[in-house]
Assembly symmetry: C2
DNA sequence: GTCTATACCGTGATAGAC
DNA sequence: GTCTATCACGGTATAGAC
């Protein structure tokens, strides 16, 4: 309703897209203001500084990611555990093509985190819950009986998570690989069971 | 010898460190000049622009990485193939702590590549030879007879490469994980052979 | 309460003197 | 080969219009 809400929202949306496309530093407040249709200092009515606008966007992303990262695994079933885990990766690979903004902007925050403690703290939190959810998935697989309960189950899960995550990074650089095959290999290596026998 | 050589070299060294520590955009030419002990416009005698200085540093990195990426694998032997492959990863993990500059600066180029075609081109080249060398390692393992020759050997190698690479990224964010265990798991999953039997 | 006009200083960049 | 002077543009602060 309020004009204020509208302007605020528009600044955020415009900033998100421009930051993703051109990067934080090459996107000036004047450009954002022009696109929104206000004057440059007007942004300072809503945000104390450019840095604060950048931080605000990160906090928004932070919330979204936290939710996205946590859920899914309870829906995995005993019968098709492996296939469903594969599907999780395939979906992510496809989503990558759909929202090119997300990874471009997220990677910039990774960079900032290398020099800014508060970003660093939040990023490590995200990574931790990201990794944790993979551990939970595999432990769930153990519960279901489709996975052996080895002492290295945590390392296995983290390896899987690193592959999952880095597929996104490589896609970002435009490298054309058979990502589905890579993901399949990773899942397969963690769950040698399935159709193969894995008795000792 | 020449003063020219000296100044040039000093600019490069100072810029490399400052770019890594503060980032490209937050490092001004004035700061570099002050640290080198010259005036700001003097830098323009050696470089046409700030961007060109950044590009020059990348070209240097590019050469170094190309060499680092290509070599090693011929030294792997039949008897200790797995252990030596493990050692390769361990060394990289340790090196990460030694040269904090490298990854910080390299990641910035990854970001630039998302918006700049020429960086993108070179980066994809580096990634490609990086991935290729992992494929070669595993194919060498097949030759040695320590690895089965499966059709998925390429995907296996790329998976291994993604893990190897992303360990570096996660270390950068300051996340404290048992990276050696993760690497061990990755290598193990690719070479189930070794002491285990893997007959079908 | 919502914004514009204006001015300040630091930045990358250029021209020209020494 | 290096500096001084100068420029346009960037983020930022404030005064004040409505």
């Amino acid at each position: 309703m309020g004009n204020k809400e509208q302007t605020f929202q528009k600044i955020i949306e415009v900033a998100y897209v421009m930051f993703a496309e051109k990067g934080f530093e090459k996107t000036s407040l004047a450009m954002i203001a022009a696109e929104v249709g206000i004057s440059k200092p007007a942004i300072y009515y809503y945000f104390q500084s450019k840095d604060q606008l950048i931080t605000y966007l990160f906090d928004e992303l932070y919330k979204v990611i936290q939710q996205d990262v946590a859920v899914d695994y309870k829906e995995l079933s005993r019968v098709n555990f492996k296939e469903e885990l594969l599907e999780l990766g395939y979906k992510s690979i496809e989503a990558q093509g759909k929202d090119p903004y997300f990874n471009k902007i997220f990677n910039q925050y990774v960079l900032l985190a290398a020099r800014d403690e508060s970003y660093k703290k939040q990023l490590v939190e995200l990574e931790t819950s990201f990794l944790t959810s993979f551990v939970e998935v595999l432990q769930y697989g153990v519960e279901l009986g489709v996975l052996e309960d080895t002492p290295t189950i945590e390392a296995k899960a983290q390896m899987l998570a690193l592959v999952y995550d880095n597929i996104g990074n490589f896609m970002l650089t435009g490298n054309q690989l058979d990502y589905r095959a890579i993901w399949k290999e990773a899942v397969h290596s963690v769950i040698q069971g399935g159709e193969d026998g894995n008795k000792r």
